[in-house]
């Protein structure tokens, strides 16, 4: 009994010291990470806005892929939407932003956060990756499987089918959501 209590106290002491150093590191790094994430998000919104004016963010509830929406306008006229999207990739949750025309055609998309495998799913960070989805969601359907891609595009996503499908479903979900808004803003 005494031995077990001694073991527990030793482990408690080690954990206590570990917690102290983790808290100290977190207090230094957390503000830097928060600011960096904020800047990255602003850059991503700017990149997908297509030069339109970016409106206010509104939280969207009850949608499988859409988490928030931001209206885009030009000279006071509605020009489309930016949607915050989430999906489940190979390494867990992925978040992205994508812009759509009022009738649900995807214009630009950018991956914001993910834990995809380097060299495989992580390729989705690169700008060429999202080009496969550009101008889809309207008359041209969003490619949600490799079979819907050209041979070159299918080869390029080789080894990352789960990531591709997750992104494609999120973009298709975003397109459906914009269509459900009826094109009116």
């Amino acid at each position: 009994m005494t031995k077990n209590i001694r073991y527990a106290l030793i482990l408690l002491a080690i954990c206590g010291v570990a917690v102290f150093f983790l808290a100290l590191t977190n207090s230094i790094t957390a503000p830097v990470i928060e600011e960096m994430d904020h800047q990255n998000r602003l850059k991503a919104l700017e990149a997908v806005s297509g030069g339109f004016e970016i409106g206010e963010q509104e939280v969207v509830d009850g949608q499988p892929y859409v988490t928030y929406r931001i209206d885009l306008s030009e000279g006071g006229n509605a020009a489309g939407w930016i949607l915050g999207l989430k999906s489940a990739g190979y390494g867990g949750e992925m978040t992205l932003v994508a812009s759509y025309t009022p009738d649900g055609v995807m214009q630009y998309a950018q991956l914001l956060g993910h834990s995809e495998t380097p060299g495989l799913g992580k390729k989705a960070e690169e700008s060429w990756y999202m080009e496969k989805f550009k101008n889809t969601g309207g008359q041209q359907p969003v490619p949600t499987s490799k079979a819907m891609l050209s041979a070159d595009d299918a080869q390029a996503i080789s080894g990352s089918s789960v990531t591709f499908t997750a992104i494609a479903r999120a973009i298709a979900g975003g397109s459906d959501y914009v269509k459900s808004l009826g094109g009116a803003q």
């Binding site: 570990a18 960096m36 390494g91």
Partner: protein, 209 residues
């Protein structure tokens, strides 16, 4: 105080963790798609291995044998989390490139293997030398695999962007004729097999001589 330099050099060649002891192969095969990933992962392993060996060796008479595994795991996991937070804040490109392999350093066999096999039984100075030697050996092995895979698979050598340099060296001919399989998992296993066979053959020749 006399330094035992053999503890430092053994990890580089004679007991190279990648090619001879064959430890930590999961991250080696996973992150070796780009040279920059290999360098980032090597830096992470160096930090964690150095401090875990140091702490475990310093605490070896304080931690009872019956609870040594949970105690080591707490120490290693804390060091990995600190590495992760620091990389995320100050070298986000490397943090992003390493992805899931960074937190997986916790279960890297090299870290726990060296803690168990060496740091728990040797002095702090010897444990530090062992950690540095093993980390250099790991870095050399990982970088060698990454250079070959990236060169053959993409025709590039990716380092870190600096000023006007985008960090990517495009190697003529290889860039236009990539062997895509080398970028994928089968290519990594194939290359690892050839390199392991080469180092075994070299070792056997040395013994015969």
């Amino acid at each position: 105080m006399k330094l035992n330099w053999n503890e430092l050099t053994k990890g580089i060649f004679k007991e190279n963790p990648v090619f001879i002891i064959v430890l930590g192969l999961c991250p080696v095969l996973g992150v070796s798609t780009q040279v920059s990933n290999a360098i980032g992962m090597s830096a992470g392993v160096l930090f964690v291995l150095l401090f875990s060996n140091l702490l475990i060796s310093a605490l070896r008479n304080f931690i009872p044998a019956s609870i040594h595994i949970p105690a080591y795991i707490v120490i290693i996991a804390s060091l990995v989390t600190i590495t992760e937070m620091v990389m995320h804040a100050f070298v986000p490109a490397v943090y992003s490139a390493l992805g899931v392999y960074l937190p997986l350093i916790v279960v890297n066999c090299i870290i726990l293997g060296r803690a168990e096999a060496f740091a728990a039984r040797n002095t702090v100075i010897d444990s530090i030398l062992d950690a540095i030697g093993m980390s250099i050996g790991f870095a050399l092995g990982l970088t060698l695999i990454a250079v070959i895979r990236e060169l053959l698979g993409n025709g590039t050598i990716t380092l870190f962007a600096m000023g006007g340099f985008d960090g990517v060296i495009r190697v003529p001919w290889f860039y236009n004729n990539p062997m895509r399989v080398m970028s994928l998992a089968p290519g990594a296993l194939l290359l690892m097999g050839y390199l392991k066979a080469f180092f075994d053959w070299k070792g056997a020749r040395k013994k015969e001589a």
